[in-house]
């Protein structure tokens, strides 16, 4: 299943690039800035570059007003079907240019004509008209997206049809329009986009499902989504279908699963009604998917699986914070120890291929271990402390998270601390005490405190290994000095 990469989930060209040379790093910075400013707009463009007529230039020219009018007229009134189709193809090529898009939307009656062609009885004209709309949907100008408003009711109507290529096109077009303009979303919701998607999600076509997931993910990312969109999504049958698409097994399609995993993430992190999702079995489905991912990561070479792992980790982590997770007796619904094994396999994969995702994996580990003696015991019994410590040098953020997980274990008492010492923990702590980052050092001090409390024998070894000197380095630091002093006293008295 994982090796059959259909659809668009393929090894991404950038994964080596972004963290490699300097140019991609500049791109990465720009994107992070865009994300911080909430300007990160992702759109999909299905551009059919199949060479059609011979003699056409490789690069489509910008069309002027006369040419746009001419092509529209030919498409609408031509006598030969091929001629009409050809006119729309030429128009579509021109619409790849923002200038042509602007010319088009400023031309009176142009959208009306295009909508007329979109709803014509000539199937291939209809398809070409839809492709023209799709080009327009890719515009970065919200005025262009808004110019497409007259077409939306038809795009939605066609989602209930049966031509899978056409439905796919309509979905990507809708997804692009949704992300560009709030006016479009304000119209699509009363026009019934949610029931249309709920009906369409029952399609057996993988390409349609992937497109639907994309469109839905764009809808869910809208700023007004928590108040205006997510409640109706949750009230529909969409969540159950989404979870079905995420169930591991022979029917799981990675491209489709990626889209719906992101959809789920946007729903869950909006915290509208997560208990409902837990009631639908989200935790166990996602847990099983995590196991599956870990298995796949071991077998397949760079299948882009981190694209699916990321949202799954986020969903699980956020869901684990819900009170509904606890059943009677305070037992977590997610109790399978294999989840911890799977998570570490993924952490290793991230360590090698995608270090920026380590914090997300460690976030899940924190949420698993924080209130669970069982998972803490698993980490000990599966010998995962040493691998965890190997992550300390990666970055300050990762260090803090690793130390936090270790604190989760240590705070459960002497039975746990006995298993943490002797071992590589103390040398690792002495090493992190040498860091300059205050948060890393602060977390190290917390861990030391717990270790000294529950495992007093560790104090002697600490002193022997120049622990006091390590502490002294930080005794002037405002945020640390009280704890440094307290530990010094413990060590000297012990």
């Amino acid at each position: 299943m994982w090796s059959r990469r259909q659809g668009r989930l393929r090894p991404t060209v950038w994964s080596a690039g972004v963290y490699g040379g300097s140019e991609p790093r500049v791109l990465g910075c720009a994107l992070r800035k865009a994300r911080r400013e909430q300007q990160l707009v992702s759109k999909r463009l299905l551009r059919d570059d199949a060479p059609e007529e011979a003699g056409e230039g490789c690069v489509a020219a910008i069309l002027g007003e006369t040419e746009v009018q001419q092509f529209l007229r030919q498409a609408q009134q031509g006598t030969e079907e091929k001629e009409r189709e050809g006119a729309l193809v030429s128009l579509r090529r021109g619409l790849q240019h923002p200038e042509t898009q602007q010319t088009f939307i400023r031309l009176e009656g142009s959208m009306r004509t295009l909508v007329g062609l979109l709803t014509s009885n000539q199937a291939l004209l209809q398809l070409e008209a839809a492709r023209c709309l799709h080009e327009l949907s890719h515009s970065e100008q919200s005025t262009v997206a808004e110019a497409c408003l007259p077409a939306t009711s038809y795009l939605l109507t066609y989602l209930s049809g049966h031509s899978s290529d056409f439905i796919e096109l309509c979905l990507y077009t809708l997804g692009n329009l949704i992300v560009e303009s709030e006016a479009v979303r304000r119209q699509l919701l009363p026009q019934g986009i949610v029931p249309a998607l709920a009906a369409c999600i029952q399609s057996p076509h993988v390409a349609v499902l992937e497109a639907l997931g994309y469109a839905l993910s764009q809808l869910l990312q809208a700023e007004e989504a928590p108040e205006k969109i997510i409640p109706s999504i949750l009230a529909s049958t969409l969540p159950q279908h989404m979870l079905q698409m995420l169930q591991p097994g022979p029917k799981l399609n990675p491209g489709v699963a990626v889209e719906f995993a992101w959809c789920l993430h946007y729903i869950i992190c909006s915290q509208v009604s997560n208990p409902l999702l837990i009631g639908h079995g989200a935790l166990s489905t996602l847990g099983l998917l995590l196991l599956d991912l870990a298995g796949a990561v071991q077998k397949t070479e760079d299948a882009g699986l981190e694209l699916l792992a990321c949202p799954v980790l986020r969903c699980l982590s956020n869901l684990l914070t819900e009170a509904a997770v606890e059943t009677v007796g305070g037992q977590m619904q997610l109790r399978d120890e294999r989840v911890v094994a799977a998570l570490f396999i993924l952490l290793q994969f991230f360590f090698q291929k995608q270090p920026s995702l380590l914090p997300e994996g460690l976030w899940l580990l924190n949420n698993l271990t924080a209130n669970s003696p069982s998972f803490c015991t698993s980490l000990l019994s599966l010998d995962l402390i040493e691998p965890l410590l190997q992550l300390l040098p990666v970055s300050n953020v990762v260090s803090v998270m690793v130390l936090t997980v270790l604190c989760n274990i240590a705070e459960k008492g002497p039975a746990y601390c006995q298993r943490l010492w002797p071992g590589p923990l103390l040398p690792a702590l002495l090493h992190t005490l040498a860091f300059s980052d205050t948060e890393v050092v602060g977390q190290s001090l917390e861990l030391l405190h717990l270790l000294f409390l529950y495992q007093p024998e560790a104090v002697q070894v600490f002193l022997q290994q120049s622990g006091l000197q390590a502490l002294e380095r930080h005794q002037e630091e405002a945020q640390l000095q009280d704890r440094v002093y307290a530990l010094q006293q413990t060590a000297l008295q012990g």
């Binding site: 994107l31 909430q38 463009l45 199937a123 049958t237 694209l307 949202p311 952490l347 989760n408 039975a415």
Partner: protein, 333 residues
């Protein structure tokens, strides 16, 4: 990062939870100046923590543009004609044929041969156009169902329904898939033909004068060779749009206009036995459907009926769902 060799074996083995070691906390653990408390952490939507993963997601989506360049050209086959009786379209690519078939032969009314984009719209058409019991009942109760999937509102007339769709669902006033049934009178100047007598290749319902605020027809007219008018009272002549009209309009001037016909025009003199209405399993709320299933049907119908169980929603009508409380962000890291 080295993992213990037994880990993979553990993953492959069956489910299970570790028997937890005994928990025994000392109150001094949380005593000042130390403040560690084990707790799960929640990150809300826009949190900076998600930055890296979000950027990667964005690049993945953008990357599709590069990948699409690899999409192979549509495979061409020797030209073949559509096999549906009366359809003479020729194709040289299977994808094109698939789209043509689904569009024009997918959801076809067996009475008037009109094709619809979805089973839902076909159902509504058959009920409203070919079911005399519907017409009788519609005089006493609201029968015209809103065409937006999931909306359960019903109306006395198709005009009321159209007003509802325009007002509540923001549908265009000239929505093409909501054509009211035409009158019997042959000389209706504003009525574009709806018996399907038009030549292949014409766009829908183009006529010279716009009729404001009238709904559009639903069908894709089929080649005249195929069309027959099976029922006496639907034999109203249609004004066939001509090229002269279109040319007069120019590009920006094509108008799609539809006639409004009073409900009495739809009453049939003949009995219900001649009806042969097809069952409409996707409209269980209509009291007619079960009764009509008993009647014989020659309906050509795409078997894939998309059922929806969605409840109606539009802006301003969200019941009982308050906005979420502010996220409890516990910034631990």
């Amino acid at each position: 990062m080295q993992l213990p060799p037994a880990l993979c074996a553990r993953l492959a083995a069956g489910p299970g939870a570790a028997e937890p070691l005994p928990v025994e906390r000392d109150p001094a653990a949380g005593a000042a100046p130390f403040h560690f408390v084990a707790r799960p952490v929640r990150f809300p939507r826009e949190h900076q923590f998600f930055e890296d993963g979000d950027v990667q997601r964005h690049l993945y989506l953008q990357d599709v543009i590069m990948q699409v360049a690899d999409v192979p050209e549509k495979p061409r086959v020797p030209a073949f004609a559509c096999q549906v009786a009366g359809c003479c379209q020729v194709f040289d690519a299977l994808d094109d044929y698939e789209h043509h078939y689904h569009t024009l032969h997918g959801n076809v009314c067996s009475f008037c041969k009109r094709a619809f984009p979805s089973g839902h719209l076909l159902d509504a058409h058959i009920l409203e156009w070919h079911d005399s019991l519907f017409q009788i009942l519609s005089e006493r109760q609201d029968m015209y169902q809103c065409l937006v999937e999931g909306c359960t509102e019903k109306f006395k007339t198709s005009r009321d329904r159209k007003d509802h769709m325009v007002r509540m669902h923001l549908y265009p006033a000239d929505f093409r898939f909501d054509k009211p049934k035409k009158s019997r009178s042959p000389a209706s100047a504003e009525a574009p033909g709806d018996s399907g007598e038009r030549s292949e290749g014409e766009a829908m319902e183009i006529c010279s004068e716009p009729v404001a605020a009238s709904p559009a027809p639903a069908e894709y007219p089929l080649p005249s060779a195929l069309v027959r008018v099976p029922l006496e009272d639907l034999k109203a002549t249609r004004r066939k749009p001509n090229n002269a009209d279109r040319l007069r309009k120019g590009v920006g001037g094509s108008h799609h206009c539809w006639a409004w016909h009073p409900p009495w025009a739809f009453l049939r003199p003949s009995g219900v036995a001649a009806l042969g209405a097809r069952p409409s399993p996707s409209s269980p709320s209509l009291s007619l459907s079960k009764w009509h299933q008993q009647l014989s049907s020659e309906a050509v119908r795409d078997p894939q009926i998309l059922e929806t169980t969605w409840t109606h929603y539009w802006e301003g009508d969200v019941d009982g769902l308050s906005p979420p409380a502010g996220p409890t962000l516990r910034m631990y890291f």
